[in-house]
Every structure is written in structure tokens, then in C-alpha cells.
């Protein structure tokens, strides 16, 4: 079960069947295992869930404070009690979400001793979160490049955080990749994972786990050595 230090609120799975009678997004069962208790009371978390849902469905520019407030079941006035603007709510929520994902990955990786298995576990945790919550995938991978500006900039920073996490714990004898190589790798990771969600195949994201694992390892040890690492099948 994944710990939830930042108390990430529930997000809808695809936005179709997600809402219960009160308009709160409902989290599907899954390995992330967020407890039900915290969501109901806390307005701020409902707002974060609403930001994710509304932005994932409409993109950043088309999303409005009215839509977000309505999805959270609060008034616009309540919204502005927490955030100064749509942008403010977006970046606040993005920070929450990205940290949730990175933490899930870290925790999964820490359970492994050897680096290749660690990389695989970290990627698996990431794909598990996205497979269970396509809105999170849309929110973090698909929406930002389309939004441009500071939104895309924050996304690029997130990808670099992902990379740092994945390369953490590698043995000292593996080569340090160039910056170009790192960018190509992490841009490719996002495209492969995001592409699956964009194609409506988000629930099959685990299918690309072996691919992504090999791509990450290949960055450091080359493709020949990245293939057929023990415990990677």
C-alpha cells in the first residue's frame, strides 16, 4: 500500500462514471489504496481533486474557476479563500500531485536493493498510479505541453525530477550520461506513457513497463547490457 503523506484527494478515473451523488470524484480501488476518510471533510482537497478533473478534461486554458468550484462543490468565493487565481490553484495542485507520484516511486524503489530492480519498481509504481487514474496522467503528462508557458515549464521540471529519482542509487561504475541523453530519455518516457493514455489505452500502461525499464537502464549501461537484466521479465 502506498503511504500518502500529502493526503492526495481522490481523482476520477476518466471522468465518466466517477462522480457520486454529491459530485465528489470517486477513486477506483487499486494498489495506491488511499483511505476514504480524509477526502469528505477537507475543502482544499476537494478543490485539488476538482482542479485535476476539470483541467484533465478541458485542458488548462479552457478550465475556469467556476468549473473547478462547481466540481468541488464549493462557491467561487470559497475557491478564492484558498487560491488567488486559476494559475495558483493549478500550480499548487501540480506540486501536490507530482510529489505524490514521486513519493510512490521512491517508496517502491526503496524496497529493492539492486539498482535495475529498483528502476523497474519505481517505473511500475508510476505506471500503476497512472493506470488507476488516467486523469492524473492527463494532468501531469498531456495537459502541460499543450498549455505552453509556465505550465509547460513546470512540467519540464517535473520530468527532470523524475529523471533524478530514476538515476538515484545507480552503481558508481555506470557512466554518467550527457544532459542531452538525459533529456532524450525522460522526454521519451513521458511520450510513451502519455501516448498510451492519449490513445485511450491507459489501463494497459503496464504493458510498457519492460520497454521503459530497458530505456532507462540503457541510458546508463547501453542497450546491450540493459536487455535481460535478472528480474526484469
Amino acid at each position: 500500500m502506498v503511504r500518502n503523506p500529502h493526503k492526495l484527494p481522490r481523482v476520477s478515473a476518466g471522468g465518466k462514471e466517477a462522480s457520486n451523488g454529491e459530485g465528489l470524484p470517486r477513486l477506483p480501488p487499486g494498489r495506491h489504496g488511499l483511505p476514504r476518510s480524509f477526502v469528505v471533510e477537507n475543502q482544499r482537497q476537494r478543490l485539488a481533486a476538482a482542479v485535476i478533473q476539470v483541467v484533465a478534461e478541458n485542458g488548462y486554458h479552457a478550465a475556469t474557476v467556476s468549473q473547478i468550484s462547481a466540481a468541488a462543490g464549493v462557491s467561487r468565493r470559497t475557491f478564492y479563500g484558498y487560491f488567488s487565481s486559476k494559475a495558483d490553484s493549478y500550480f499548487d495542485t501540480f506540486a501536490l500531485v507530482s510529489e505524490f507520484i514521486l513519493e510512490a516511486m521512491r517508496e517502491a524503489g526503496d524496497a529493492q536493493r539492486r539498482w535495475p530492480a529498483r528502476v523497474r519498481a519505481e517505473l511500475e509504481a508510476m505506471l500503476a498510479v497512472y493506470a488507476a487514474n488516467p486523469d492524473l496522467a492527463r494532468f501531469t503528462l498531456l495537459v502541460p505541453p499543450a498549455a505552453g508557458g509556465e505550465v509547460a515549464e513546470r512540467y519540464r521540471a517535473f520530468l527532470m525530477e523524475l529523471l533524478e529519482l530514476l538515476s538515484d542509487g545507480r552503481p558508481r561504475n555506470v557512466r554518467s550520461p550527457t544532459q542531452a541523453a538525459e533529456h532524450v530519455l525522460v522526454g521519451g518516457l513521458a511520450a510513451v506513457a502519455g501516448g498510451k493514455v492519449a490513445a485511450g489505452e491507459g489501463e494497459r500502461l503496464m504493458e510498457v513497463l519492460p520497454d521503459l525499464t530497458q530505456l532507462v537502464l540503457a541510458l546508463y549501461v547501453g542497450h546491450d547490457r540493459a536487455v535481460g537484466k535478472p528480474g526484469l521479465d
Binding site: 486554458h61 505541453p145 499543450a146 498549455a147 505552453g148 508557458g149 509547460a152 515549464e153 519540464r156 520530468l159 550527457t178 544532459q179 542531452a180 541523453a181 533529456h183 532524450v184 530519455l185 525522460v186 522526454g187 521519451g188 518516457l189 513521458a190 511520450a191 510513451v192 501516448g195 510498457v208 519492460p210 520497454d211 521503459l212 530497458q214 530505456l215 540503457a218 542497450h223 546491450d224 536487455v227
Partner: protein
């Protein structure tokens, strides 16, 4: 004979005035050239038609006689840049004797275009993703086509057998991401450095370092 618009009125007119088609195509080029600059500087979202016609010193009427709206203008600019780049890249790899040599020459030409035309690069690599669905589809198709080209390199290369199915998609999207990053925080303005950085990532897994190194040396040394 129709009256010439004021900005052409001083041009001496001989027995054959500019035919309407010439004027229209000249007008189109001016608007598209101006639009490229405006879209690149302001971003698609923030650009207005007034910005474009202002930069082109054209009238709103002339804009609408050529384009249905901002999106259509953007798509025309995108298509034009891609088509011209494609021609140059194809020309660059015409003399290649192997897929690998063509790949290095083609990538080199792409990067030299990238460096010499940053506004055009921004249109294709950055703004196209923010300019609505039709533009996004074009952007994705471009990456797909590049991926297909890269995949063709696997034929007859035993070392490529270990590569994952996602290798081409990840490499092309990754290259695009890296180039986007270069647009925002440029590290270099010479295409040779970019080629030396990126060619190994895309091509070494397919053709190997031994084959790649002499090709790279020749490409950066020039004719």
C-alpha cells in the same frame, strides 16, 4: 485596370501590371512570415489577428481573404515550414550511400535548420502543441513519420534486435523534448555540437559506434 493598393502605388507599372495572383501570393508570404514571428514571440494563445496584420503591415481584410482565422493561418505556417524543411533534408541525404550515412546527414540538416531558424523551430516544436487539435494532430504525425523513418534503420542490423519496440518513439519524442529545452535555455548555437550530442543517442543503438564515428566526423567536417 484596377487601382493598386497604396503601398504599391509608387511602384512603376509597365504595360503589364502585377497580376492579382502575384499580389495575392506576395501578400500571403508577407502575412505568413509576419505570423511566424508573432506566433513564436507571443505564443499561439496570446497572438491575435491584429498582431499579425500589424507586423505584416497588412489589412485585416487581406488576412481574411487568405485565411479563415488564426488557427488556419497557424496551420498554413506550420505546413509551409515542415514542407520546406523536408525538401532540404531530403536533398541533404540524397548522396548518401547507406542508411546510416543518410541518417547522419539528415539529422545534421535538421539541426542546422533548427539553429538557423529558431522561430520556425518554435512553431513546429512548441507552439504546435498548444494551437488546437488540428495542430496537435500534425505535430504527432510528424513525430510518427520521423519514428517510421528511424525504424527503417533496423533492417539488416543485428544489433538493433535488442531494442525495445518503443525505442523509436521514445527517441524521436525525446529528441523533440531536448530541442524544446534548447529553445528555452539554449546551450549552443552550432548545429555540429547538437549533432555530436544527439546522433549517438538515436543512431549508435542501430548502426553501432564504429560505423557512426566516421560518418559523424565527415558530417561536421563539411564538404
Amino acid at each position: 485596370m484596377t487601382d493598386l493598393p497604396p503601398h504599391l502605388a509608387r511602384v512603376p507599372v509597365g504595360r503589364d501590371p502585377f497580376p492579382p495572383e502575384t499580389l495575392a501570393s506576395h501578400q500571403r508570404q508577407r502575412l505568413m512570415s509576419a505570423a511566424t514571428g508573432v506566433f513564436a514571440e507571443r505564443g499561439y494563445q496570446e497572438t491575435t489577428i491584429d498582431n499579425i496584420v500589424g507586423a505584416a503591415k497588412a489589412s485585416v481584410g487581406s488576412f481574411y481573404s487568405l485565411f479563415g482565422g488564426k488557427e488556419e493561418c497557424f496551420l498554413a505556417v506550420f505546413d509551409d515550414i515542415v514542407e520546406r524543411s523536408r525538401s532540404e533534408i531530403i536533398a541533404a541525404l540524397e548522396e548518401a550511400e547507406s542508411w546510416g550515412e543518410g541518417a547522419v546527414l539528415g539529422l545534421g540538416k535538421l539541426l542546422s535548420l533548427f539553429v538557423s531558424a529558431p522561430q520556425a523551430a518554435r512553431i513546429v516544436l512548441v507552439e504546435a502543441q498548444t494551437a488546437g487539435e488540428a495542430a496537435t494532430v500534425r505535430y504527432e504525425s510528424l513525430l510518427d513519420a520521423a519514428g517510421d523513418w528511424l525504424r527503417a534503420g533496423r533492417a539488416g542490423k543485428p544489433r538493433a534486435a535488442v531494442l525495445t519496440p518503443s525505442f523509436e518513439r521514445a527517441s524521436i519524442a525525446g529528441l523533440a523534448f531536448y530541442l524544446q529545452q534548447q529553445l528555452f535555455s539554449p546551450e549552443t548555437d552550432d548545429w555540429e555540437s547538437l549533432l555530436e550530442e544527439t546522433a549517438p543517442l538515436l543512431l549508435e543503438p542501430i548502426i553501432g559506434l564504429e560505423a557512426l564515428t566516421p560518418l559523424l566526423d565527415r558530417a561536421v567536417a563539411g564538404p
